[in-house]
Every structure is written in C-alpha cells, then in structure tokens.
Symmetry: C2
Subunit: 385 residues, 2 copies
Amino acid sequence: MNAECSKNVGPSDQVRLARAYLLRVVEPPGVALGVFVEQVGPVEAAAAVRSGEAPRQVVDETSARQEVELAHADLERAAGVGGRLVVPEDDEWPAWPLLSLTNARGGGARWAAPPLGLWVRGAGSLDDVVRKSVAVVGARSATGYGEHVATEFGYELAERAVTVISGAAFGVDGAAHRGALAAKGTTVAVLACGVDVPYPAAHTSLIDRVARDGAVVSEYPPGTTPAKYRFLVRNRLIAALSQGTVVVEAGVRSGARNTATSAAALGKPVLAVPGQVGSAMSRGCHEMIRAGTATLVNTVDEVLEAVGEIGDLAPGPSAPRRPTDGLGKQAARVHDALSPRESRGAEWVARESGVPLDRVRALLPELELTGLARRGEDGWSRERT
Amino acid sequence: MNAECSKNVGPSDQVRLARAYLLRVVEPPGVALGVFVEQVGPVEAAAAVRSGEAPRQVVDETSARQEVELAHADLERAAGVGGRLVVPEDDEWPAWPLLSLTNARGGGARWAAPPLGLWVRGAGSLDDVVRKSVAVVGARSATGYGEHVATEFGYELAERAVTVISGAAFGVDGAAHRGALAAKGTTVAVLACGVDVPYPAAHTSLIDRVARDGAVVSEYPPGTTPAKYRFLVRNRLIAALSQGTVVVEAGVRSGARNTATSAAALGKPVLAVPGQVGSAMSRGCHEMIRAGTATLVNTVDEVLEAVGEIGDLAPGPSAPRRPTDGLGKQAARVHDALSPRESRGAEWVARESGVPLDRVRALLPELELTGLARRGEDGWSRERT
C-alpha cells in the first residue's frame, strides 16, 4: 500500500483517512507513533494500531482510543466549517519549517515530535502562508501597553508581507491577529482545540476572520476541547511554523515563555519586547533578555533583522542566481566554514564560523536540504555546487 | 622637596598649593601634565610649568594659563563654601576607584587621565563616601517614569548603605540624588563646574543638601562655569568613582551613554533600565542592552548583584580572614587562573578563567594592589599568600 501511495503525485484518500484516524487515536505529541508512521507509512501504521499489533510504545500511546473510528466523520465535520486535513504527503505541507521539530526530536527532545497532520481552515496553501512568518505571542492578561505593541507589530509585520502566527487567546494573541487583519495581511491562529471549536468563545468572529484571510490550524480533531496541557503541546507548532518568535508581554510563568523556549530549542530566534520595570507583565520578557535567551527588540525592523538570517534561507518565490545567494549571514558563515573534502562536527563548525552551536545545529540540516551541505558518518562537509 | 613630602604623614601646604595651581592652569583631563606630575611630583611640576621649562606636551597643555596664580585664592574661595582640595597625597584620596583611570590611560585611553586633585564640599572622608557606590545617571529630559525609577533606585541604594553618585542635572540625576536624600543616605554630585557654582541654578538647594549629607566634587577650580565639553570630561569621574553605572533613561545620543561607555572602558559594570518601546528616552538604554554593552536591570538587587563582583573586591571595613575571602566571583576566577610559577598574559587568563578580557584587564591590577597577583615583565602570576 505504501508503494502505491508513493507512485501518486498527491496522497490517496486512504493516506488521508489513515492520518485522520491516527490523529484521533493519539494524544499529541505522540512521539512513538510519529516515528512508527515515518517507518512504515500512515496506512500500514493505522492498520497496526487498529489491530493492536504495533510496537509496544505505539500501543501505549494509542490503546485508549484505538477503537475510535471517526476518520470519515472528522473529515466531513472539518469540511462543514470549510476545513480540510493537510498531511505530509500534500504539496502544501510546510515541510521546511516543521523540519525543525524533526531535528530537535532527533536530538532527544521528545516534546518536539512533528504533527501527523494538520487540520486547516483557510483557502491558501499552508506552506505558502507560513513561508515568511513570525510568531507574536504573550500574556492573556496583557496590559494596554502590551496590546498596543502587539497590534502595532501585527500590523507592521503584515504590511511587510510577513504572516503573523499566534494562538487566538485574549490579550497579546488577539491583538496581534487583529493588527495583521487591520493591515489586510495574513495571519494564522494555531489552536489547542478543534478548528471548529471557537475558543475563547468571545473570539469566535476573530477566528472566523483569521480563517477567511489566513488560516486556522490545529492537530486536534474537530470537536476537541481545549485543555491546559494542549496549550503547551500546541506551542511547539507556533514555534515551529514561524521563523522566529516575539514575546510582547509575559509574566514570570507563562505560556508565551514556553513558546519562546520551544523556539530557542528549535534554533529559531526569540525576541522580547521590554516594558517598564514595575510591570509584572514585562517581567518574563526582562528575565529572558537578562538570561540571554531572548534579544530585546523595539521595532518590527529589528524583528526582521533577527529572523532574516534564518528566514532568508527558506526557498522564496524568486530563485536566487547562485545556490548560496539566498543565504542569511549566519548560514553563509556556516557554509563557508565547511570543507568540501573533510568532514567536521557541529562543534568544530561553530568554533570556525563563530555562529552559536545551537544555530549551527539548526542550520546544517537546512543547508543539507538546499543541497549545500552533506551529512556523513563522521560529520558535515560542503556539497560541491 | 619631594623627599620632604614623602616623609610627612599628610601632604604639605606646598603640595596642596602646587596641585591647586596645576588644576587652575590645565583644562582637564590634561594627560601629559598628569603623567609629568606622577614622574616629578606636584611641587617640581608646578615650578617647571611656571618657568615654561616642562616637557613640550606639558607646555602645550598649560601655556595658555601658566601665569594664572590663584592657588591661595582658590583654596580660600572653596573654604568660603565649606570646601577643600583633596589631593592624591591625602589619606582620603579615593585611590582605589581612581586606579581604574590610571589603568585605562595605561592601556591607551587618553581621556582616562586621573584628576590632579578634587575640590570637595562635604564633611566625610571622600574615600569612605565613595567606597561602596553606584552611579545613577540618565537623561535631563527624563519622563515621569524615568524620574520615578531614578528616585526609587536612589532611595533603595541608599537604604542598602550604597552611596548614589550622579551629576546634579535635571531629570534622572536630580531624582537619584533626591531619592538617596529621602532615605537619609549618602549621595555624591560630581560637577562640570566649580563646587561653588550651583548649576543648574534651580538645583542650588539640592546641591547644598548633597554637600551637607554627602559630597559635591569637581576637578574644576572654584568659579569655573560649566561647558559642554566639561560634562563629557566630568563623566569619566562619575564612572571611575563608582563601582558600576546604572543608566535609567537615555536618548540615542546622550551624556549618560557617554558615562556608560566610560564605565565599560574602565572595566566596571554598566546596567540599563528598560522602558516602553515607544519612548525616545528609553532608546539609548535599549540600544545598549541590544549591543550587549549594558545588562538589563529591573531592581536595585539586580544592580547590586552585578556590581558586587567588583565591589566585593574593595577592602571593606571588616577585614576578611583569608586574603582571597573578599574576592568577587570573577576576581576569584581570575586569581584561580593565575599560576604561582609561570607568567601569563591577560588574554591567556581571560581564556582560562572565562572572564571577559576587559574585566580581566581591570581585575589584575586590583589583585596586584591587594597583594594577590604579581606583574612581571612577561605577564602576570599569582602572589604566594
């Protein structure tokens, strides 16, 4: 059955139904199931899960719901709100940004499992929509200042044709979406519930507008209600789909900081907006800046300057003349540090290039994907171009 | 005559008159004159300047005013406002903090010439007053937020028995002094004019209160009026006398940033208070934080944490049990990195200790002064204690 799929240009209905089934029976992130699907393909994996004959860890992740057969119903229910299931076999699958999750999982971060599929409301190709994007996140109980900055950043990012990704929550999230919409830009809401579940309820019309002009995205099947742990699991998708995360306001313990931590672990820039020192809502931002885990930003230009280094690497609409033309500064330095003849470890490349090790670890696989670097048994070398 | 002075416990009147004369005939910082005075002593230097038979560069620095004989008059004029001239030969000379200027000048920073003497209004020993001190500086056109933070920081530093050093200007400076006074603490105003010149005029009573409860300090002779370049020259004294500088608010180009740059060049911690991103008065602070030249601080505790590493090194009232007991973290690491047998360069010590090179360059001479390190022809070694 796998052989059959791989012959087709698009995925078969069987593949989509298999992934819809798997998304229903596992509670994300579902690390073991994800690896199993990558090994045997979604159709065979679904059959194994149904029969209970999957590897032990996969059975552990799926046994509680393995008999829930709602794949057809979920696809219909999504269609009822103008939604669809986007799967890795689709052209519009955002393989490039989600590669950061696969890399981090490979490095031992179990939370970083890539999604098995994404339920999407919104007309555009998901890959196109997130290609050039920045996450703007922050406290639900934002101050007027925080909402003002989030709105401004959302507006100005959209004006520069950058998609604004956020979580549709009260406070900073909602303000960021609204700012982008006000600039007639594209914005994406990644939910911790089904794409047909308007949460928070007061944001029903906001979420509808996001779906109309951008995309509403979730790995949770239609009808899934939000839960506290789902917000944390969802945050990895906000971090992964965007090319950098801006935290506008955050208390000392906040979901926004969790998103920022995820983004940093994925090797993506984390930016934080400062505020007045007395404001509890700026304490999280200030702590991240003090700890060196976030860079202070005043303006959207500073945000774009920071994300540009990774963002420029992604294949854009206009193909560069030379393979290395589109590289950001850090990527170019990493590429320069590689030798076409000898293999080097990431640590060596970091020392040679002066690029931080975590960025090197994120950039090397991206260079590999664009055919500029080669991964060998004993390290990395430059691909002859 | 030098031999005579060195036999006395305190300096002779001749020494004080010589330095008063020299402070009158040179426009600070007067690098060549300062070096000349260190070589031949103040009395001989004054004679040479009077006769025009000093080294060429010293003559260049003094020829315009060499005939201005106001030493006696200046001492009387200072006494008239309760002031005195403190000279390096006095016990109360703050040799320790000002050593940072000598070191920086030795490293090629001509602006960092130590003062030839300091005119002081205030009852306490100058050395005692600045021993544990932090500079709080910022924009004259501070916002209400900036003045509020400056007042709070001034108050809380004073409550912790830390002297607040500033420049008596409108805005942040005045607020910092007032905060310290409100806490019945000690505060020092370093002026760019004579200690008998109340500038700005609206701060006359504030400056009087600072002199009463702390000290008003200047290297400019009585009656000197402020001038733009004198503020910049003055700023090196604020940076040098304190153990760290906090910038509360600063525009992109501002005197406070000049003070911060001086402090950094002297190897002292620079802290900056963040504010809202729309505020022009926070832009300078945000730029320094972004550039990594200042550390973001929210609270006075964070300020003390940052300055503690250098501050703890200064000999305090209670003597530590072992010679290394009083060392801050970085000083201890630098000390550990030294070998009692082999000489090492500052670069080597920086690599070995993980302490930034400029801090190493500042800490090594301080360790030498406390008898913990030895400077040799080919580098530094650990003193056997």
